[in-house]
Structures are given as structure tokens and as C-alpha cells.
């Protein structure tokens, strides 16, 4: 079989003839990998997923899943994929088991097969004890796990996860990651997921595509992307109100200096050695270093590098503002 499980060529979606949600994206997902679509809200992640799972027709371009064309052979695609949507779609008035069986009926799976699979899946997501409880009594984490189980009922070859941990607290999020890893191991599936959590993409995905304003700005493994940034990142601020970019640039190992919001973002090959050199150079000229941090690159830096703004700036949702606030508070302590 072709190694490319998902292939998109010039995939485009335009809403109302003017709003370009997804703009000629090209990518391919390999057999057995976890592929992450990373970007802020409104970048076009969900629109892309909705095209791949055949509920939206592309305006232009084409894509295939396991060789089936998403527009022309949509029913074949539907048979081989599983979906874990962003929302909690399980019916609150039904029990967990009833919800899974409802999903199985939508795939036309015979009842006796479905029951056996449902029990296995409930066990896998540790909901066996709650199977006869109504979903309205479930916690967020349990609902998410139930969605996972529903998405697996047809033994999909490819599982699509749209923002799998949106709105979950930190512990539940980490637990959900564990389930996703377990699924991949147990079923050998290919996973396509979207997220706007950088750490999530970093923790789970074999390869990442960063999408912004409907376009893929860069794609590759998280390690590759970080490596391409060219080393560590030193962030530094000085007391004096002068531009010292030129001075820093001359220090050994420094590759690039950018001034942003009164701080210098310095890229250097070996941060541990370069940092003291920079401080030394500044001190010699009589400048006082006020703040300094050394970070190994994260996907956030990658994101910043390719989109020119921080992932956080691009986020507008209240939830994210809240999370940030909490992070800042924690940092302050």
C-alpha cells in the first residue's frame, strides 16, 4: 500500500465566495504517524479536518484518504476513518454504552459485533463501570474518552482528532495524551490531529504542520523545526534605553538578534557558553543587564519564527487569556 495515508494537493476552501479559510495547502501524512496541525483559532485547522472527513466539499484542489478521493469517493472515506470531534457530541440523555452502540449503528455494524467491540472499547478508555450511567453525569475527561471510544467503533485506519484536549484541565489533558498514545500503539493507526496547544503538538506529534491564515507556513518533525531555528534562544533586557543590537551581534556564536517589546531575542548555537559572553560584552560598555533567560527552542519559538508573532498573541479566546494569566501568576511566584 501507498505509504501516504493522507495526501492533500492545493486543498482550498472559500466560504461565501470571499472568506478564504484554507488556502491551497499541500501536505501528506505517512502510515502510522501522528500528524499535527498546529495553529491559532481561526487558522483553518477545523475547516481542513472537515474537508478530510467529508463533511465539507473543497472549493478547489483535492485530497485523498487511503487512496480514496474525499470528494468523489466520500462514502469509502467515511468507512475507514474515525472522528473525535472538538465538541462533546455524545447524547447526554443516553448512557455511555447506548452512545457507542448508536455510533456503531451509523456505520451499520451488526449488533452482536458492535456489543463486543463496545465492551472492549469501554474497557480501553476505562469507562466500563460507568457504561450504564447517563452521559450527563460524566466529567469532561470521561466525555472525551467516550468520544474516543465512539471514534474507534468502526476500527478506523485513520483517526481524526479535532482539538482533543480543548477545555480540559492540565491533569486530564496529560491523561488524554496517554490514551492517544495507547491507541496508536494498540491499533497501529494513523492519527491526524489539530491543536492550538504547542506543548500538545510537541508531546504527541511525530510531525507538525504550522498553519496560519489558511496556509501551511512550515512542516516537519518537531525536532527538525526546532533545529532549523539554529540553536537556543536568549532573551535579555537592559536598563538603558539604547539599541545594543549591533553590540550583541558581534559576540561570538551569536547568529541573530531581534529587538521586540524592549527585549532582545538572541539566537545562539550554544546558549550556555554564549550567555556569559554577551553579559561580559554589555558590562564592558557600561550597560546593566536587567533580565535574562535562556531557553532551548520550543514550538512556540518555531511558531514565532515563521509567523512573526507569538502563538499567544494570535490567540483571542478568553480561555487562553485565562490560561496565560495563570501561567504568568505561577511564574511570578
Amino acid at each position: 500500500m501507498n505509504d501516504e495515508i493522507i495526501k492533500a494537493e492545493g486543498l482550498t476552501k472559500v466560504f461565501n465566495k470571499s472568506l478564504v479559510a484554507v488556502d491551497h495547502v499541500n501536505f501528506s501524512v505517512k502510515n502510522g504517524e501522528i500528524f499535527g496541525f498546529l495553529g491559532p483559532n481561526g487558522a483553518g485547522k477545523t475547516t481542513t479536518i472537515n474537508m478530510l472527513i467529508t463533511i465539507l466539499k473543497p472549493t478547489e484542489g483535492k485530497a485523498s484518504v487511503l487512496g480514496f478521493d474525499i470528494a468523489k469517493q466520500n462514502n469509502d472515506v467515511r468507512n475507514v476513518i474515525g472522528i473525535v470531534p472538538q465538541e462533546y457530541t455524545a447524547d447526554e440523555d443516553l448512557t455511555g454504552l447506548e452512545n457507542i452502540l448508536l455510533c456503531s449503528d451509523l456505520y451499520g455494524i451488526p449488533r452482536n459485533v458492535a456489543k463486543e467491540r463496545a465492551m472492549d472499547l469501554l474497557k480501553l478508555v476505562e469507562l466500563t463501570d460507568f457504561k450504564d450511567k447517563k452521559v450527563e453525569t460524566y466529567s469532561g475527561g470521561m466525555r472525551r474518552r467516550l468520544e474516543l471510544a465512539c471514534g474507534l467503533i468502526n476500527r478506523p485506519k485513520v483517526l481524526f482528532l479535532d482539538e482533543p484536549t480543548l477545555g480540559l484541565d492540565v491533569q486530564t489533558r496529560t491523561a488524554t495524551w496517554e490514551y492517544i498514545r495507547k491507541l496508536k500503539k494498540e491499533f497501529g493507526m494513523t492519527l491526524f490531529m489539530t491543536t492550538h496547544y504547542l506543548e500538545e503538538a510537541d508531546a504527541l506529534c511525530d510531525r507538525v504542520a504550522i498553519i496560519d491564515h489558511g496556509k501551511i507556513v512550515v512542516a516537519g518533525s518537531s525536532a527538525e523545526l526546532k533545529h532549523n531555528l539554529g540553536g537556543d534562544l536568549i532573551t535579555l533586557a537592559i536598563k538603558e534605553n539604547e539599541d545594543v543590537s549591533g553590540l550583541i551581534q558581534k559576540v561570538e556564536h551569536v547568529k541573530d538578534v531581534r529587538k521586540e517589546d524592549g527585549a532582545y531575542r538572541i539566537k545562539a548555537e550554544v546558549g550556555e557558553i554564549t550567555t556569559p559572553l554577551i553579559i561580559e560584552a554589555l558590562r564592558k560598555k557600561g550597560y546593566t543587564v536587567m533580565r535574562l533567560s535562556l531557553t532551548e527552542p520550543t514550538l512556540n519559538e518555531v511558531y514565532l519564527e515563521y509567523t512573526g508573532r507569538s502563538m499567544r498573541d494570535a490567540e483571542e479566546s478568553r480561555e487562553n487569556v485565562m490560561t496565560q494569566r495563570m501561567v504568568r501568576m505561577r511564574r511570578a511566584h
Binding site: 462514502n75 447524547d91 448508536l102 455510533c103
Partner: protein, 281 residues
């Protein structure tokens, strides 16, 4: 590739599962079930009994017989019977309206998208909504008849227990039409407010510009015209012919069935085509 979940599947797979999902919300929830029955009971009990129209007719005028007059006006000498039977159509109107609203919920909660990403047919998704509303209304019709009898409904002289099947048949036709109409209105909506307003705009006139509470022949001419195109009027008439009228007018009854049947076929076809197109966008 999909040998485990493909072979024995028919075009209609999932229809019963989706229909039953809607019905379960109702029959597994005794409170909701009772509440949905209370409304027609209240209408029947309060309006039907309070509007004791036959008491308006003086009994001391020679040559004026209240029974005959009522009979001539309402087709039955008992206003309660006239009105109670009208409740069947009214309940169907409200039940189908709420089934339309459930489409908006499914859309908002993401269930619709999830169903659309499975191999279930788009038509089945719409049919299941129509079917569940229809089955619910038919069941409610049965209950209303039982309650009305307990409250003193007087069957007509021509009444035969088999006529109840006729009542179910006309309610089936009416509901298929109405719920397709409401689904076509709601399927594009992500908000509750707009379709709710549109449906209220349709519902109240449909209820009052019909013969549900009052015979059309006593209404002003312009209103009679409205009543004469309202499928609810034909449904009410058919149900009255089948249950409470002393001498059934078979020509009228055939006309009722034809009219409601044509209404159902036309509206359901348009509604389902519109929804289907929208869902396969």
C-alpha cells in the same frame, strides 16, 4: 478493507437507531412524557369545558332546540367533543415544531457533523427526524383519544373502532408534511431564536385559522379562505368525521385524505430535497 462493517448494510441502515435516539429521550423520561401530555389535557379540560357553548342557547324559546342547533353548527351536540378532537391536530403541530428545533441542537452540539462523517445516508438523517416526530404525534393522538373519552367525549353514531386507524393515518400524513417543513426551516440555523420566531409565526395562525376551535362556516369570508387551504383544517375535519360525527360525509372524508396526502408529499419532497442538498454541501 471494510469487510467487518459493510456487507449486510442496507441504504436505510441507521434509520431506526437515529429515530430511536429521539424517541428514547421522550419515553425514557417520564417527566417529559407527562409534560408533553399535560398541554393537550389543559386545553381540552379548560377551554373545552369552560366554553360551554350549548349553555348559551336559550331553552325557553319555542321551536329552538339547542341540540339540533349545536348539531348543525358543530356536527355534534357537545362542544367538548368538537374541541377535544381538534387537540389531536394541535398536538401534532407542536410536536413536529419541537422536532424541528432538535435539528438546531444537533448542529450546535456537533452531533450532526459527527453523523455526517459516518457512512449513514444523508436522507436517513432527515428521515429519522421526520419519523420520530410522526411516531410521537401518533402515540399522542392515541393518548388524547383515551383521555378525551374519559372526560366525556361522545362518539358519533357511525363510529367504528377501526376508524381510529384512519385517525392515525391522517395524523401520519400531516406530521410527515409538517416536520419536513420545520426541518427545512431549521436545518441551516445555528441559533435557536430565528427558527423559533419563524415557527411561532407559522404555528399560531395555523392553529387559529383552522377549524380546531370553531367551525369555519361561521367565520368571515376572508378567514374561511385561509382555513380552506390550511392542511390542519382538513386533518381536523377528517378526525371529526371518523370519531364524533353522526353521519359521515364520505366525499368530504376522501377530499380530506387527498388534500393532506398531497400536502405531505409535496412539502416532504421539497423539505427533504432542500435539507439533503444543504447537508451534502
Amino acid at each position: 478493507m471494510s469487510e467487518t462493517n459493510g456487507n449486510s448494510r442496507s441504504k436505510l441502515h441507521g434509520l431506526w437507531a437515529l429515530t430511536n435516539r429521539e424517541l428514547k429521550k421522550w419515553y425514557k423520561e417520564p417527566v417529559l412524557f407527562l409534560l408533553s401530555m399535560i398541554q393537550p389535557i389543559l386545553w381540552m379540560g379548560l377551554l373545552g369545558k369552560s366554553m360551554n357553548i350549548s349553555a348559551l342557547i336559550p331553552t325557553n324559546i319555542p321551536g329552538l332546540d339547542s341540540k339540533t342547533l349545536m348539531q348543525q353548527t358543530f356536527g355534534t351536540s357537545d362542544y367538548f367533543s368538537f374541541m377535544a378532537v381538534g387537540m389531536i391536530g394541535m398536538t401534532a403541530l407542536f410536536t413536529t415544531m419541537f422536532s424541528g428545533m432538535s435539528v438546531v441542537w444537533d448542529r450546535r452540539l456537533g452531533f450532526l457533523n459527527k453523523a455526517l462523517s459516518t457512512p449513514v445516508s444523508r436522507a436517513v438523517i432527515i428521515f429519522s427526524k421526520v419519523l420520530s416526530a410522526t411516531l410521537r404525534s401518533m402515540f399522542q393522538a392515541g393518548i388524547i383519544i383515551v383521555i378525551a373519552v374519559a372526560f366525556g367525549l361522545q362518539f358519533g353514531a357511525d363510529f367504528n373502532p377501526l376508524n381510529i386507524l384512519g385517525v392515525f393515518a391522517i395524523i401520519f400524513l400531516l406530521c410527515v408534511g409538517l416536520s419536513s417543513l420545520f426541518i427545512a426551516i431549521t436545518i441551516r440555523s445555528t441559533r435557536m431564536e430565528t427558527p423559533m420566531a419563524v415557527m411561532n409565526l407559522i404555528n399560531l395562525p395555523m392553529m387559529f385559522a383552522s377549524n380546531a376551535f370553531y367551525p369555519a362556516k361561521l367565520m368571515p369570508d376572508w378567514l374561511q379562505t385561509v382555513v380552506s387551504v390550511n392542511p390542519l383544517s382538513y386533518t381536523n375535519d377528517a378526525v371529526r368525521q371518523l370519531l364524533i360525527v353522526n353521519t359521515v360525509d364520505y366525499t368530504q372524508l376522501a377530499l380530506d385524505f387527498t388534500y393532506v396526502g398531497i400536502f405531505a408529499v409535496i412539502v416532504a419532497t421539497i423539505g427533504i430535497i432542500l435539507s439533503w442538498r444543504y447537508l451534502s454541501k
